[in-house]
Symmetry: C3
Subunit: 262 residues, 3 copies
Amino acid sequence: MIWRDIQQIRKTAPLVHNITNYVVMNTTANALLAIGASPVMAHALEEVEEMISLAGALVINIGTLSPAWVEAMVKAGKEAQRRKIPVVLDPVGSGATKYRTDTALMLIREIKPAMIRGNASEIKSLLRSELGTKGVDSRHVPAEVLGEAKALSRSAGCVVSVSGPEDLIVEGDNVVRVSNGHPMMSKVTGMGCTASAITGAFVAVNPSPFKAAAHAMAVMGIAGEMAAGRSAGPGSFQMNFLDILSCIQESDITQRFKIQGL
Amino acid sequence: MIWRDIQQIRKTAPLVHNITNYVVMNTTANALLAIGASPVMAHALEEVEEMISLAGALVINIGTLSPAWVEAMVKAGKEAQRRKIPVVLDPVGSGATKYRTDTALMLIREIKPAMIRGNASEIKSLLRSELGTKGVDSRHVPAEVLGEAKALSRSAGCVVSVSGPEDLIVEGDNVVRVSNGHPMMSKVTGMGCTASAITGAFVAVNPSPFKAAAHAMAVMGIAGEMAAGRSAGPGSFQMNFLDILSCIQESDITQRFKIQGL
Amino acid sequence: MIWRDIQQIRKTAPLVHNITNYVVMNTTANALLAIGASPVMAHALEEVEEMISLAGALVINIGTLSPAWVEAMVKAGKEAQRRKIPVVLDPVGSGATKYRTDTALMLIREIKPAMIRGNASEIKSLLRSELGTKGVDSRHVPAEVLGEAKALSRSAGCVVSVSGPEDLIVEGDNVVRVSNGHPMMSKVTGMGCTASAITGAFVAVNPSPFKAAAHAMAVMGIAGEMAAGRSAGPGSFQMNFLDILSCIQESDITQRFKIQGL
């Protein structure tokens, strides 16, 4: 199933439209190319609706948000909704500032994403609007995160994908756990954003956002493990991660995947 | 001749002023440094005219355009024209949306670039304003692209450089074909943008935009071949490409270049 | 002392808030992660004050400035000043255009940074407001730079850190000289910006901006030497530099550091 999605991505090269943050534009575009998708970055109000009409998925990431960009996210997201093109929302840093939390909540209401992908503290912030997250990274999944992900999935009406040492993919009461991955992934900026972008490629070829999210997180984790195994640090990890994404094979998946619940 | 240009770039380190897209700012700056030029990125209306006065070339790339940036492109481009500083225009994604096509056509009219460098579908879009390109990459050069490049060269009054498995550099009826390059180049984001930036370095030291474009495409292709030969995928390709650009030697050029028509 | 700072950064992972340029957002975030700090990039007027309240240091870098971003720099900088959070200012390209020089001078007046970190021509431009710098890089430290750094330190009332073959860290009449580093560092874009970001991490854990600046420049230079020793060019240098920052050990520091005056 994972492998079928990868083959489909490589065969059809779906266009993934990203309205994302400045920090990761280059690295997420490269990850999408490496897995076989076609990335495009476009945020002008003048073109987002036309661009989304060509795309298989829209990825919205608020990592370096500002009002003009948020306006484009809403416009693109509404057009995606109208065209039934799935939207992946990455609420980067939600909880760190009120502006991020409020924007993420507004986007959920206005755009109705197919999926929200974030770390545990971001997911939590969207549930209870609590502030106090330190910055944009979260290194461990608290024990209570499953309940929070379920609650957010219900309130937002979409799949919730929470990354951490164990990734959780939740749709209502359905839960998939992915235990692939490597600690080195948290030492490279934008690996969460890359997970969201890659999820965009999978959701473009798999009609189930729930399965697409699980497959994407497994591939991220497997490529991360394989890259870490040959890397001396985060610099070489980045390089190896792209190399591996571009040539990952069925046997890599079948030998390594650690998924429960799918 | 190619080698003389490289020596001249390394010796004089021409300042190449880029108004380019967010995705490739880092990678194109690094490519310019690697070949020996001095990159600067500046887009504020408050400074583009003063910055261009220091530069040997201006590279305008619409990959993540928005109205404020387009305004800066026009302002910088007009000042470059006034000062007879050559402008390279990269119409990224022209054809994918009306906004991109219209902006590229407007820039051609207002700025009169010395050169337009794009892929086959971008070039075609500027000729007939046809829409329907899927995204921003184009993997094969259609048979009719030569005619389209000639027509654009005539209508725009400038050199047209079309990248593809075989690069075409066209000025009116004069045609150069460059057959260097490697398929892995299409798996790294921004290699076309890098070609435009590198072309900026060559046009800063060579008074003939036609020859500068051909030399730049040959060096891109040769460095791409050499990098691909030692790379396991797009991650290591990026790294090796920069390493090779920085230490490419005359013998690499003379042994590998595949240019017809120059 | 250097080693104690590194340990402290790794242990406490201070949040370093960056309002920086598009070119280096990815690479400076990765350098901060590699040394052990937590980077965040945020520039919206709606959130900069709240974000800075979570941070241990603020790094302001004008490399791709525009009025909206400058407004955010002032707002964040004033809040940092109010909260006694140290600010590192990197006046990228000051001297190249009047807009950059004027903005840097205004930021110094309005924000009162704890430290200004730039190259020799940028520092000089802030002293005499002379124009004529070619672009944003400066390859050698003129003999008179020490006097200029001292004058700027006095007029701005802060530490001045000047990078070059020999780095100078100046506070009034106190001077530290750091002779670590490698010429390959000038062939990678944003190494100066990375020095400023890393300085932000050190100033977040060391109460003396003067010592923090010296330690940061020494670590930059040592990591640069070690990376250059195993790199074929600027591409592999970038990768190795991050790998080394992430696993640099006490013995690397004690065996290599070349600091005078501390």
